[in-house]
């Protein structure tokens, strides 16, 4: 066999090995490598929904009580940072009050990949930082709950904690409705994680934002109720109280005031957690004789009795096998008026009429 022929056979064998190997990779293991490639190319994004906002009435118009605001977390990747001094100076100049202490030391770290430099930075500040084009610096958007009316209706509204979960009040009770449903985006991305419009396996599911709420609460009545409640508690030297204002025709709640109160935007500064409770709905209270005022009001409103209507008060009355008697010592006389019923809190007055 000539050497040329041997070389030719050798080349043929090498080519055959390549062909067989390629066949094995591209045909037999096709699904496996396709899945591996898909895993590295495709990125899943979660689209966060916007939390629902809360509005109150202002006469016939609506006015916002709880809104959302875009805030940003400024972070740096020390491995990408080229000028840490410039970054530190820029951050102090633009986001001064929001910067975290001691971040400058971490900017030169060779081990860290994520250093938070400032939190809760406003959009305007974020735009200024972005314009500086600082190498290795990024911005992460977040949303913050805003309460433009401050402490107004704090217990009724509740607050949202640092994990985005509603706590107490409406924020807690209707947390699921206010939160909404996250969406999903699954697509082939480039090295910067920007979705590309290629690939038939893209998944796009829009987020469902949370429901906005419009309450029957009237802002002006609420403010006045809180003012009156505070004045009343000061006068009575009381430490705690609640006030509820309702529309007697429809039963709509127009004001729900509690004292002491707090600022929902600064819930983390509260030391006594009992202040978060809306006592009107969360603290059971046996109304007792207070209910007589409602019954009397209903009677007068319906025309069943008037202020001067009278009845024969004998001190007790029999209902089936139960005897209802007056608790307090009352002046027993035949022509007891409805005013007397309220003045002496007469249980017999309620039954007879």
């Amino acid at each position: 066999m000539s050497r040329t022929r041997i070389l030719g056979v050798g080349l043929l064998v090498m080519v055959a090995i390549f062909v067989v190997r390629l066949f094995y990779i591209q045909v037999i293991k096709h699904d496996f490598y396709e899945t591996e490639a898909y895993k590295s190319q495709v990125t899943k994004f979660t689209i966060q929904p916007k939390r629902g906002q809360v509005y109150a009435m202002d006469g016939h118009d609506t006015t916002p009580l709880v809104l959302n605001e875009s805030v940003y977390t400024v972070f740096a990747d020390p491995q990408e940072v080229k000028d840490p001094d410039k970054i530190a100076r820029t951050m102090r100049r633009i986001a001064g009050g929001n910067v975290l202490s001691g971040f400058e030391e971490n900017l030169t770290s060779s081990k860290l990949r994520y250093v938070v430099m400032a939190r809760q930075v406003s959009r305007a500040q974020a735009e200024l930082i972005k314009r500086e084009n600082l190498s290795g610096v990024g911005l992460q958007e977040a949303h913050r709950r805003v309460y433009p009316e401050g402490q107004l209706g704090a217990q009724m509204l509740g607050f949202v904690d640092s994990e985005g979960k509603g706590q107490y009040g409406l924020e807690g009770f209707l947390d699921k409705r206010l939160t909404g449903t996250p969406g999903q985006l699954q697509a082939v991305t480039d090295v910067r994680r920007i979705p590309l419009t290629i690939g038939s396996g893209d998944v796009r599911q829009a987020a469902h934002d949370g429901d906005d709420l419009v309450l029957s609460i009237d802002r002006n009545i609420q403010a006045q109720a809180e003012q009156v409640l505070k004045a009343g508690l000061d006068k009575a030297h009381a430490t705690k109280g609640s006030m509820l204002v309702m529309d007697p025709q429809t039963g709509a709640v127009m004001a729900m005031a509690n004292f002491p109160t707090y600022d929902p935007a600064k819930y983390n500064e509260v030391t006594d957690y009992s202040v978060f409770q809306n006592s009107i709905v969360s603290s059971p209270y046996e109304a007792g004789s207070v209910l007589k005022t409602l019954t009397m009001g209903a009677g007068i409103d319906s025309g069943a009795v008037s202020a001067n209507s009278t009845y024969n008060n004998t001190g007790k009355v029999q209902v089936d096998d139960t005897t209802i008697s007056n608790v307090e010592e009352d002046p027993i006389f035949p022509n007891t008026t409805m005013t007397d019923v309220l003045q002496y809190s007469l249980n017999t007055g309620r039954r007879d009429r």
């Binding site: 809104l67 979705p195 419009t197 290629i198």
Partner: protein, 118 residues
């Protein structure tokens, strides 16, 4: 390089049928002859060119992803601006701010209040 050949000497029988009287016929025969290897190389080159054309078309569609991302970023920015303006508007109209404003400070509390009822 081509050369004219006298087809009267070299034409085939088929050509003879198509050939009429007083009609000059010539055939060009190139001196350059492409062998099988050259043909293969040419075909491979054409396939490569077709592949490049395909790649450019596919890349073009993926570029739309960048345009979409750019538009989405701008939209998100505008929505965030709108939201922040709503917040600022609400803050400016807040009851406490209005009560403590210079306009309210120059107002007087009425001594008596009467309500007009129907």
């Amino acid at each position: 390089m081509s050369q004219l050949r006298n087809t009267s000497m070299n034409f085939s029988g088929r050509q003879q049928r198509m050939w009429r009287r007083n009609q000059n016929t010539v055939s060009f025969a190139s001196a350059t002859v492409l062998g099988p290897v050259t043909h293969t190389v040419l075909i491979a080159l054409m396939i490569a060119v077709l592949g490049l054309i395909y790649l450019t078309q596919v890349t073009k569609t993926s570029l739309y992803g960048y345009k979409i991302d750019d538009r989405q970023t701008r939209l998100d920015g505008l929505l965030a601006d709108k939201q922040n303006l709503e917040v600022e508007n609400a803050r400016l109209q807040a009851l406490e701010r209005v009560k403590n404003s210079s306009v309210a400070a120059s107002m007087e509390t009425p001594k008596t209040v009467d309500y007009a009822t129907n």
